[in-house]
């Protein structure tokens, strides 16, 4: 059957709906204030990415006169309008929440953001000192002329626009320069970028512990220092977002030229995607910026509060204030790896499932650290996608190389937004003697895999870690992910082949256990769905449960519609974008979609197929989006150990019946909380409790000290 465009939900609108659910968490009075602030900060960061990537690519499509490939059939042009309106509404709600609820609540608990006119003399002199020592050396005011305005205004950075009067300043190469705005004789316009390397919040001495001034205010207070002899007439704060959709390198060959010319058109027509202007700003400021940056009114967003709430999430880390935050969560030890057990032996005894952040990611770090020091370990291979230079993972790999192990790491430099950081620590690893491979041409490696080759007395064993999340200790505290530890031979052979493939040493051949994108994963998934359809057609009970971050691939959605029509029960837990429209009569009656947004970011991908009673459960690195299935290296990992399978099935069931944090997607495309009785306990809460119980049970089982039994006294 051919499904109609109306049977699909538009990807961009679904994306915005997700951000709205994040916003709802900020608005939820049960969320502690600092966490509300953190959610608002996520809303900002999501909107940045959305403007940069999604709006950016829509604008490019419009400029190229193309309609895009969204299965919902909405044209890029129609969408651009809708999306703009939705973003505007969202920003309105976000700042409403910030100004009316979150910030007042924080102020009541002693947080202070002081404005320049509120500072005492003492605070003023402190701020001046900070300005002189830390801020001033970093300031590079930009003069404005229309031709070069694009090049100078940095992406996603707060800037000050200043209008002043006075004698025309001389523009020397190393001097702050202004350029006369030709429109108004005798006046000058200048732009100053707020330094990005400094904290947004500058703490000032005050009776209240947490009192600070925003860095843009600090610069504003001292603006006259930059433009001596000028009279400041007015200032405004603004921030631009440029088109960041650089996905050309990912495109297929046949689209490459078209995409490339779109980029070229795009550079001229829609380089600027969005201009945020902080209130209060005069009409002059809006007009001037609009003209100089070549943005139209539809791209200008006035922000009723501080620009860019992203950095406000750092307040979450303030000392004290524990009553303003979620109760801290300490990731629990993994029962089978707790204490000082021999990790190698533990894995040999049976596969181990790790559920982060409920269970600690230290397990993986420890495995690497032990591998680095272990005499029997010959080699370590790993894919690093997003990690940080201070990571213990990197340190362990450096140590391993220093100890003479062969360490090979595939570094995915194409990880969006992280390129610079990745290059920095990969150079460090290279110096330590680690072999670095910088990804495959045209294919992003998104799979997360680690292999440790260990020579043991009886034989070589390969210890494998396959996961849904990156090797990043900080996100492992916040993202929910699963990892599998195994030393199974078939996995060993497959993962060895996998590394040989991504490092270019070998072509892939057949896989014993894994399915690998871009070759084979899509077909395997379709096969699994069709098999479930056959079961349903044969009158058997057929069930599919999927937990994904995004579902936007047309072919996969159609397969799920086919499944629904055949009577397969399809239960989906999709955190973010979902282009599948559930509950449509005759199309998707048997499909339910629930999205969970909670204190942790739902990130794991788990797949379940009933398979006529012979349950099959998989972990995967791939979302069901065209780019993941066709243009990335992704893995589908079967989990075969019965207790682990059981645990994953139960976790899926917990997620799809989460009436506390879950929101159900309706056939109208709207997400709503379930009517009727709501659970008190969210799925995330349940997993935390489970992990605590398991760790506690383990601790009680293990005697803390060994008691030596005395021989009975001779009588």
């Amino acid at each position: 059957m051919r499904y109609q465009p109306r049977h699909f939900i538009n990807r961009e609108l679904s994306w915005l709906a997700f951000n709205e659910r994040v916003l709802q968490e900020a608005e939820d009075p049960k969320t502690p204030p600092l966490n509300q602030l953190a959610f608002l900060s996520i809303v900002s960061s999501n909107l940045d990415e959305f403007a940069m990537i999604r709006v950016g690519s829509l604008r490019r499509l419009v400029a190229a006169g193309r309609s895009g490939d969204c299965p919902s059939g909405l044209s890029a042009c129609q969408l651009l309008d809708q999306v703009g309106q939705r973003m505007r509404d969202m920003v309105g709600r976000q700042y409403e929440c910030f100004n009316r609820r979150v910030w007042p609540a924080l102020v009541r608990r002693g947080l202070r953001r002081l404005l320049p006119h509120e500072l005492t003399a003492e605070q003023r002199s402190h701020i001046q000192q900070v300005f002189d020592e830390q801020v001033y050396p970093l300031l590079t005011p930009l003069g404005i002329d229309q031709q070069r305005a694009f090049d100078h205004v940095a992406d996603l950075t707060i800037h000050i626009l200043a209008r002043m009067a006075g004698p025309a300043p001389l523009a020397a190469a190393d001097e702050p320069a202004t350029v006369v705005d030709k429109q108004t004789p005798g006046e000058h316009v200048a732009v100053v970028a707020i330094p990005t390397g400094l904290p947004r919040m500058i703490v000032v001495p005050a009776s209240d512990e947490h009192t600070f001034v925003l860095i843009e205010d600090v610069v504003l207070m001292h603006l006259d220092r930059l433009f001596e002899g000028q009279k400041l007439l007015e200032t405004a704060l603004f921030r631009v977002t440029r088109n960041g959709d650089l996905s050309v390198e990912e495109s297929r060959d046949e689209d490459f030229l078209a995409a490339m010319s779109e980029v070229l058109i795009g550079r001229k027509e829609s380089e600027m995607v969005r201009l945020e202007l902080a209130e209060p700003a005069s009409p002059w400021a809006g007009q001037t910026l609009g003209r100089l940056l070549e943005v139209d009114d539809a791209q200008i967003f006035t922000i009723p509060g501080p620009l860019d709430l992203k950095p406000f999430s750092s307040l979450l880390g303030l000392p004290g204030l524990s009553e303003l935050r979620y109760q801290p969560w300490v990731p629990q030890p993994v029962p089978r790896l707790a204490g000082d057990v021999d990790v190698w032996q533990a894995i040999r005894e049976g596969d181990i499932l790790l559920h982060h952040p409920y269970e600690t990611f230290d397990t993986v770090v420890r495995l690497l650290q032990e591998a680095a020091a272990d005499k029997g370990v010959l080699a370590i291979k790993q894919v690093l996608y997003r990690t940080s230079g201070t990571s213990k993972v990197i340190a362990a790999l450096e140590q391993a190389a220093a100890n003479g192990k062969q360490v090979s790491v595939l570094v995915e430099l194409k990880a969006r937004f992280d390129e610079a950081r990745n290059i920095e620590w990969s150079r460090r690893l290279e110096r330590a003697g680690v072999q670095i491979v910088y990804g495959l041409a045209a294919l992003k490696v998104h799979a997360k895999a680690l292999m440790i080759v260990r020579r043991e007395p009886d034989r070589i064993r390969r210890y494998i870690h396959l996961a849904t999340g990156n090797y990043n200790e900080s996100t492992a505290q916040l993202y929910t992910d699963f990892g599998l530890l195994t030393c199974d031979d078939d996995f060993g052979a497959d993962v060895a082949s996998f590394f040989n493939m991504i490092t270019g040493y070998s072509l892939p051949s057949g896989w014993r256990k894994l399915a690998v994108a871009p070759r084979g994963l899509r077909n395997r998934l379709l096969h699994l769905i069709r098999r479930e359809i056959e079961r349903a057609n044969a009158g058997r009970n057929a069930v599919i449960m999927l937990k994904l971050n995004s579902l936007s691939d047309r072919e996969m959605i159609q397969a799920l519609y086919d499944a629904s029509r055949a009577g397969v029960k399809v239960r989906l837990n999709i955190r973010g974008v979902c282009c599948l429209r559930p509950g449509v009569k005759g199309i998707s009656d048997n499909i339910e979609v629930v999205s969970i947004v909670g204190r942790f970011l739902e990130h794991s991908r788990v797949l379940y197929f009933r398979n006529g009673g012979q349950d099959e459960v998989y972990l995967s690195s791939a979302d069901w989006m065209p780019r993941n299935l066709d243009r990335r290296v992704e893995l589908l990992v079967p989990v075969e150990s019965p207790p682990l399978k059981q645990r994953l099935i139960e976790s899926l069931q917990t997620c799809i019946s989460d009436t506390a944090k879950g929101r159900w997607l309706g056939s109208n495309g709207k997400y709503t909380r379930p009517a009727g009785a709501r659970q008190h306990k969210s799925s995330q809460q349940a997993f935390m409790e489970l992990a605590e119980q398991a760790a506690k049970a383990m601790a009680e089982q293990t005697p803390r000290e060994f008691q030596v039994l005395k021989p009975p006294e001779p009588e």
């Binding site: 021999d342 007395p457 040989n500 051949s509 057949g510």
Partner: protein, 519 residues
């Protein structure tokens, strides 16, 4: 934790084929068990170069270096201690193979062994036998075929004994390099292939009636791929044996032959290099299946690298190899039959020669089992030249042996056997004999020693009546005595010994006599 010293040996087996370089990294236990760890493969178009221009191009040479360096990295990850690198038909036929081998050695330290077709056959057979074992010993014929890029290896067994072993100049890469093949339309190309294939099959049919084949074993990467696709896309574990119904295979062959290389890549998510060889390979397999009486195809998930690993394992553990000798002997006897040899005489002479060989091993000749096997083959085949003409039959035997496909024997082995056969009568080796003198010195010594023994053994059955039985040997100060219980009847044998014992005396430094054993 306890760190006892591991005793397993880490090894690697590489083969450089016509379309790819493939490797198996494995560990071998002290008991000789093989545990394969990795099997990387990377396409390199050596065959395309060699089958068109006879040479290896510069860019291919560089590619080989890159691939081998990568493979060395992988070996290093396991700290591989022992590796063997073989090259098959493509490199074998390259005019510049010696400079190529040296080029690779200088740049990678890897020493390539260019093996002969018959060794290829033998390695593959060893791998097959290792997994199939007794299943090969069916009463009817069984056939083992491997279609490679440059050649097709064929072994036919009867009751588990090798009766035919051939390396055919028919390969999936080679076919495509035929003049006109590249330019032709898909249909014309298939016709061209078909003609070429059926010609080769007819040649085989002249040697053996393939209708008797009931057990059809197929190897090769293209066949393993077919087995994977027909069997639901899951990779069967290495060493497993998959059975495909012939009609299913046929249907698969039909289906893929309708697709272009690009369509194959898309449909089966397969590498381009593999897609290129798939259709011609399927056509070759199909042609052979159609000529046999087999209704199913047995596909063992093994390759020549497994055979190589078995050899390495035998070396590491000091075990194995006996069955292989049995197959060589069977192949020699099949050759004897082909030339209507006097089987009783041949086997009797062989028996006597081996008895002498074993007796003389400790003090006189100090040769190994390898030479013993050559003596055995020489004994079986020494008289086959009679098929041509009784006069100078030793010379006819010599060239028949040198030009027969004898399973499991390399060219160098066959040259030694041919010379041994040649000297089983008449003249003993002379510095004026060109073929003899062209052998390396060590091989000349082997020829002399084995011929000396064979001459004595042949003299002992000069009557062709197998009258010399129960021999015993005695070394005396005045010579080497062969003691029998019926010396009175043996005048013919005695005079034969007097005529042919000359080489024995020259080589082992003692005259040989025949005498009555004390009662």
């Amino acid at each position: 934790m306890s760190q006892t010293v591991p005793t397993n040996t880490l090894v690697a087996a590489l083969d450089i084929g016509a379309s790819a370089i493939r490797m198996a990294i494995a560990e071998i236990t002290p008991a000789g068990q093989i545990h394969v760890l990795e099997t990387p493969a990377k396409p390199v178009a050596i065959g395309r170069d060699v089958f068109t221009s006879g040479r290896i191009s510069r860019s291919t040479r560089d590619e080989v270096i890159t691939v081998l360096r990568g493979f060395k990295q992988l070996m290093d990850a396991y700290q591989v201690k022992l590796s063997r690198v073989i090259a098959t038909s493509a490199l074998r036929e390259a005019v510049d193979r010696d400079t190529f081998v040296d080029w690779v050695f200088v740049r990678t330290g890897i020493d390539i062994e260019v093996i002969e077709g018959i060794q290829e056959n033998q390695l593959t057979f060893a791998a097959v036998q290792n997994v199939l074992g007794d299943r090969l010993a069916v009463a009817e014929d069984s056939l083992i075929i491997e279609v490679g890029g440059g050649s097709t290896e064929l072994v036919i067994l009867h009751s588990g004994q090798i009766v035919l072993s051939q390396t055919l100049p028919l390969g999936a890469v080679r076919l495509q390099q035929r003049p006109g093949s590249r330019e032709a339309t898909a249909q014309a190309r298939r016709r061209l292939f078909r003609r070429e294939i059926s010609g080769t099959v007819e040649n085989i049919l002249r040697l053996r009636d393939l209708k008797r084949v009931r057990f059809f074993v197929a190897l090769g990467s293209d066949m393993r791929f077919a087995a994977r696709i027909i069997g639901q896309g899951v990779e069967p574990p290495p060493g497993q044996v998959v059975t495909l119904p012939a009609d299913r295979f046929d249907a698969f062959g039909q289906e893929v032959s309708r697709l272009s290389v690009d369509e194959l890549v898309d449909r089966y998510s397969m590498p381009f290099a593999d897609a290129e060889t798939l259709v011609p390979a399927m056509m070759i397999y199909s042609a052979f299946i159609a000529s046999t009486g087999a209704d199913q195809i047995v596909v063992p998930m093994v390759s020549i690298r497994d055979g190589l690993l078995l050899e390495i394992a035998a070396m590491v553990s000091g075990r194995g190899g006996s069955d292989f000798a049995r197959q060589i002997v069977a192949s020699a006897r099949a050759t004897g039959e082909k030339y209507n040899y006097d089987e009783k005489h041949a086997l009797h002479v062989t028996m006597l020669a081996l008895a002498l060989f074993d007796e003389l091993r400790s003090h006189e000749h100090q040769l190994t089992d390898r030479e013993r096997l050559m003596l055995e083959v020489a004994g079986i085949l020494h008289d086959i030249g009679m098929f041509i003409n009784t006069a100078a039959h030793h010379k006819h035997s010599r060239y028949l042996v040198a030009s027969s496909e004898l399973f499991g024997l390399r060219k160098a082995d066959k040259e030694i056997i041919a010379e041994v056969v040649r000297y089983h009568r008449k003249s003993i080796p002379q510095p004026t004999h060109m073929e003899y003198m062209s052998l390396p010195r060590a091989d000349r010594v082997v020829v002399s020693k084995l011929a000396a023994i064979l001459r004595v053994a042949d003299a002992l059955d000069r009557s062709h009546l197998q009258r010399v039985k129960d021999v015993k040997f005695q070394r005396r100060t005045d010579g080497f005595a062969i003691r029998v219980s019926n010396v009175e009847e043996l005048s013919v044998e005695r005079s034969g010994l007097a005529a042919k014992g000359n080489l024995f005396e020259e080589v082992f430094g003692m005259p040989v006599v025949l005498e009555e054993a004390p009662a």
